[in-house]
Every structure is written in structure tokens, then in C-alpha cells.
């Protein structure tokens, strides 16, 4: 009972989504729209579940007071301020929510990603040691793409930007395409296994 009903729901939801591609008429077209809306609504509740988990973890930290517990206050206060401001004034432009987004959230988000530039530099030092022909290809390809996209590349040799573009457009695309085809075939087989109830790991746990 605890597993049979979810398997039936998975089968029906999956088959409706597949059938609507082959029979794009009522009732399947209506069902697809309906399921899409339901899907969106349930994913929001899944996010609420994530938020609940976040609160659970940090309120426990506040109760137990381990080292650095006061950072949980920062997290919860940050959440409370942004959430209350957003719910009162809405997310439109020019609201306090928008102000917090542009002046607090976005600078931190950009800097977090920009920080990766330094870690990528140290990772590239390890990755770019050309010990094998494959590593050499990776090194040459990355350097040509990077140099081709800065003014220095054009200054060294005016063909370097064109070679960088050529690498992106042909050998890179060929590799990406092979990966995409591999991923697509993997997704197709996994999806079929899930819909037919062969793959059940997502139902594990209590």
C-alpha cells in the first residue's frame, strides 16, 4: 500500500506526459496543462519542505549551542528580514525587497561566483600539467579558448581569436554533442525504468 499507490501515480503521471506528445488533443492536452500546473505547485511545496529543514537544522543549533552557533541567528535573521519585506511590499521594482536584492543579495552572489576564479586557477595548475596526451589536449584547448577571447590573443597573432572560435564551434561542439546524446539515452532509459516501476530508489526511506 505504501509503495503500490506511489508506483501507480508515477505510471499514470508519466504515461499522460508521454501520450500528450503523440495525441496532442483533448483530453490529453488538457491533462498535460493540468499536470504542469500541479507540478509547479507541488515543487513550491517541495521548496517549503527545504525551508522547513533549514529551520529545523538551525533552530537545533540554537538550542545545542555548538561552536559558531550565532551564525544561525544571522541566517535566520537574514531570512526573516528578506521574507517579511518581500511579503509586505512584494517583489516589484523599487520596493524594499528589490533594494535588498540589488544591494545585499546580488553583490554577495556575484562575489561568491567570482571567488571561484581563484580556485579555478589553483585547480587549473593541477589539471594543466601535461602528463598525458589527453591532458595536453585539454590544456591546449583551454589556453586557445582563453587567449582567443582577450585582446592579448589578437595582439600575439590575429588568427588566435578565430582559432578559439573554431575550437568552440567544431571540436568542442562535437564533444558536447556526444555527451548530450549519451545523457539523452541515459535519461530515456532511466525514465522508462521509473515509469514502469523497475527503478524504485526514489521511494526508499521512511
Amino acid at each position: 500500500m505504501k509503495k503500490q499507490i506511489p508506483l501507480i501515480i508515477t505510471f499514470i503521471a508519466g504515461m499522460v506526459m508521454i501520450l500528450q506528445f503523440f495525441i496532442p488533443h483533448r483530453p490529453f492536452s488538457d491533462l498535460q496543462q493540468l499536470f504542469n500546473t500541479w507540478f509547479l505547485i507541488i515543487t513550491v511545496f517541495a521548496m517549503i519542505l527545504g525551508l522547513g529543514n533549514l529551520f529545523k537544522v538551525h533552530t537545533k543549533r540554537l538550542q545545542r549551542r555548538p561552536k559558531g552557533w550565532w551564525y544561525s541567528i544571522v541566517l535566520l535573521a537574514g531570512f526573516a528580514i528578506m521574507f517579511i519585506v518581500g511579503m509586505i511590499w512584494g517583489p516589484a521594482r523599487g520596493t524594499p525587497f528589490d533594494y535588498l536584492f540589488w544591494n545585499v543579495h546580488l553583490p554577495m552572489s556575484s562575489m561568491m561566483f567570482a571567488l571561484l576564479a581563484f580556485f579555478v586557477a589553483s585547480a587549473s595548475y593541477r589539471a594543466f600539467r601535461a602528463r598525458t596526451p589527453e591532458a595536453t589536449l585539454l590544456l591546449v584547448s583551454a589556453i586557445l579558448v582563453m587567449i582567443g577571447r582577450v585582446p592579448l590573443g589578437n595582439y600575439i597573432w590575429d588568427k588566435l581569436p578565430l582559432i578559439g572560435d573554431w575550437i568552440m564551434s567544431y571540436p568542442n561542439m562535437a564533444g558536447q554533442r556526444a555527451i548530450m546524446i549519451g545523457i539523452a539515452l541515459g535519461i530515456v532509459s532511466t525514465s522508462l525504468r521509473i515509469i514502469l516501476g523497475i527503478e524504485r530508489t526514489y521511494l526508499s526511506g521512511k
Partner: protein, 218 residues
């Protein structure tokens, strides 16, 4: 005044995160936790106003579309996972999400990522115009353009061969798989270079903000 306060907040938080380059420190941890809290609230507010309100609350409570009680109940069942005793009921909405996502992706991925990519690869290997151009105007770029189509066909075919694990990569098959690995390495290198450029561009943006908007040095 609010603009100046905003710039100062942005600058100080940027410096807090940048301080991680020295080592993990309280300033970074402060900014990190604040960022997590703000991000969670941002997505919660965004999802409420853009998904939950127009798709559930307004149609259900405003227009009386009672069918929406089903996703509402499924959503509440999803949240039940927070309570271990009744956590198993979250399998029903999870089953719905997994099922509909699988069904949708089965066809879309097959169309866009498999069939369309194969179709785009099935091109004439010899492009007469490109080869004519190479012989009339020899050069690096004309040569690269002439071999572009064979490179794509060989790259995709050998790359797919590499991902075929049901047969041992030995002999001729192994040779093709090895060529596939070379193409994959070029693709990884190019993606890596592209990512580095994107990250450095972001870093330049933050440095420009600090030196121009905040300190007015440049």
C-alpha cells in the same frame, strides 16, 4: 542617502566574501550565512508571487477552481516529510513529480538531445566550396574550415562510441573510443576556458564596483 547606504552594504559584504582568500574567517562566515538566509527568502517570496499565488491561491480561493485542492493536498503531504511518523505520505507527491518529470523528459530529451543532435551531425563530410577555397586561398583558417565537417562527424561518432560501455574498449573499437576521449578532452578544455573567462569577468565586475562605485578611484 539610501543609495549610499546600499553601496556601503554591498562593498562591505563583497569584502567579507573576498576575505575567504586569506582563510576561513568570521567575516566570511557571517556573509555566507546571511547569503544563505537571504537566498532562501528570495526564492520563497519569488515562488509565492510568481507560482503559488497565480496558480493556486487566486484560482482556488478567488475563482473557486476546486480541482486545485488536489495539488494543495499533495503539497501538504510533501511537507509532512518533516514529521518522521507520517513522513511516508510524502511519497505520493514525490511519485507525481518523478513520474510527470520522467514522462516529459523522456520525449523532450529524445527529441532535442538525441534525435536533433544526430540529425545535425548527418551532414556532407566533404564541403566542396570549403576545399575549393582552401586550394585557391591556402591558410590556417581556410584549412580549419575545410576540415570542420569531418571533425564534427568523427568527433560525435567516436564520442558516442566511448560512451558505449557494453563492449570492452579494445582493438579497433578501443581505438575509436580513444579518439572519442580526445574530442571529449578538447570539449572539457574549451568549457573550462570558457568558465574561467566567465568567472574572471565577474571578478572584474566586482573589482570595478569597489574601485569605481565605492571608492571612486577609477
Amino acid at each position: 542617502m539610501m543609495e549610499i547606504i546600499g553601496i556601503w552594504m554591498a562593498a562591505l559584504l563583497t569584502l567579507c566574501i573576498l576575505s575567504f582568500l586569506y582563510k576561513d574567517n568570521p567575516f566570511y562566515k557571517f556573509a555566507e550565512h546571511l547569503f544563505v538566509g537571504l537566498s532562501a527568502a528570495y526564492w520563497a517570496v519569488y515562488s509565492y508571487f510568481n507560482i503559488l499565488y497565480p496558480n493556486l491561491i487566486q484560482p482556488l480561493f478567488g475563482h473557486g477552481q476546486l480541482l486545485l485542492i488536489i495539488p494543495l493536498v499533495l503539497g501538504i503531504m510533501m511537507v509532512m516529510r518533516l514529521f518522521p511518523k507520517v513522513g511516508w505520505v510524502s511519497r505520493w507527491p514525490l511519485a507525481f513529480i518523478v513520474g510527470s518529470y520522467s514522462g516529459y523528459n523522456l520525449i523532450t530529451y529524445l527529441q532535442s538531445n538525441a534525435l536533433e543532435q544526430v540529425r545535425a551531425t548527418l551532414v556532407p563530410v566533404i564541403q566542396i566550396e570549403s576545399w575549393k577555397n582552401l586550394f585557391t586561398n591556402p591558410g590556417v583558417m581556410t584549412f580549419l574550415n575545410a576540415i570542420a565537417a569531418p571533425v564534427v562527424v568523427v568527433g560525435v561518432t567516436t564520442g558516442v562510441i566511448y560512451f558505449f560501455f557494453s563492449k570492452e574498449h579494445k582493438g579497433v573499437f578501443g581505438g575509436f573510443a580513444r579518439i572519442g576521449v580526445w574530442f571529449l578532452m578538447i570539449a572539457f578544455g574549451a568549457s573550462f576556458g570558457y568558465t574561467v573567462m566567465a568567472r574572471i569577468s565577474l571578478l572584474i565586475g566586482r573589482m570595478y564596483f569597489l574601485l569605481h562605485n565605492w571608492l571612486h578611484l577609477i
